[in-house]
């Protein structure tokens, strides 16, 4: 088993929790007008965590990138399709402007964060490094 890898899985779960909390806050107040500050903060924090994770990933020297890429690309396809379906539902429901922008940002972070998380979780236990 690999040791001394950066806490990418932990950060991914944190980003997921933050983005879900922001989404639940917004969805719980729809369709009435509500302050977008908590959801905006959640999206910015989650987005920053994903960027930190991408940076940390680049710093890893010995890692099975083949397995990481295989898992990440299929996860991106699957959850990208789910995110697209949810985006369609938000648009169909009449979400526009700032609310739609925030929801879209939430879905983009969701769709990028999960492939990193799944790919890293599987590749960290791989025997091969390249």
């Amino acid at each position: 088993m690999k040791k001394n890898l950066p806490p990418i899985s932990e950060l991914s779960v944190l980003a997921l929790a933050v983005v879900v909390a922001g989404g639940v806050f917004l969805a719980a107040h729809l369709p009435k007008h509500v302050t977008l500050v908590p959801t905006t903060i959640a999206v910015v924090v989650a987005g920053a965590i994903v960027l930190v994770n991408l940076f940390l990933l680049r710093q890893i020297k010995e890692f099975d990138w083949k397995v990481f890429t295989t898992v990440a690309k299929w996860t991106l396809l699957a959850y990208g399709l789910i995110a697209a379906a949810l985006e369609y539902i938000f648009i169909k429901d009449g979400s526009r402007g700032s609310v739609l922008t925030l929801m879209t940002a939430t879905l983009v972070i969701f769709a990028i964060n999960l492939p990193i998380h799944f790919g890293f979780t599987v590749a960290r236990y791989s025997d091969k490094t390249n």
């Binding site: 088993m1 899985s9 991914s12 779960v13 997921l16 929790a17 879900v20 909390a21 989404g23 639940v24 969805a27 719980a28 107040h29 729809l30 369709p31 009435k32 397995v67 898992v71 299929w74 699957a78 399709l81 789910i82 379906a85 949810l86 369609y88 539902i89 169909k92 429901d93 999960l114 998380h117 799944f118 979780t121 599987v122 236990y125 791989s126 025997d127």
Partner: protein, 193 residues
């Protein structure tokens, strides 16, 4: 540790059962049609059927199958996992998206999502429960599931890795089981208000 590496012939099972993908596609297309047409029956169908299956599977896995797997030997767990987990890779995300998309549209259709509606506090409670479920399922369950399957694909699967990931899978399955009990309470309350 030498005994943690389990000698086994390379396995030929599929991590994603591709033969089931057309069925998943049919469910997704049906769900999108239900949302696009906003028909009450169709939305109710996807929410109730998806939710019933999701809840039943989580409860059964968390409280019946989970403890049984926990007492199995590692080779027995591996054999079970090879047959069981690939099905979960496609089944659970499909049930979850059908339940949530159908439920959100249903709540809009019926006005439950309006903060003035008497059902609103319970709808918000269900969103919080679903949020916790999403974090547990996507943060812990699903990656552990895929990790175990990749390990089982190896010529010499590492029992220590499988044991660690399976333990995570079983603990979190128990948490989702408890959250599903909360879902049952909330949904029956919404239905009888």
């Amino acid at each position: 540790m030498a005994h943690d590496v389990i000698s086994q012939k390379p396995t030929d099972f599929k991590i994603v059962p591709t033969s089931a993908i057309p069925l998943v596609a049919i469910v997704y297309i049906g769900l999108l049609i239900a949302v696009a047409t906003n028909r009450l029956w169709a939305l109710d169908f996807f929410h109730v059927v998806g939710g019933a299956c999701w809840t039943a599977i989580d409860l059964f896995l968390g409280f019946v199958i989970g403890p049984i797997i926990g007492k199995m030997s590692i080779p027995a767990r591996m054999e079970f996992s090879k047959k069981f987990m690939p099905k979960m890779v496609l089944l659970m995300p499909t049930l979850v998206i059908a339940t949530l998309a159908g439920g959100f549209q249903l709540a809009r259709h019926e006005g439950f999502i309006l903060s003035s509606d008497k059902h609103h506090p319970w709808v918000v409670a269900s969103m919080i429960v679903v949020g916790v479920l999403a974090v547990v399922a996507l943060g812990f369950l699903e990656p552990a599931n895929i990790g175990v399957l990749f390990e089982l694909k190896k010529e010499h699967p590492n029992g220590e890795v499988i044991g660690k990931l399976m333990k995570r899978f079983l603990y979190t399955a128990g948490i989702t089981g408890v959250m599903q009990v909360a879902t049952l309470i909330i949904m029956t309350r919404i239905a009888t208000l």
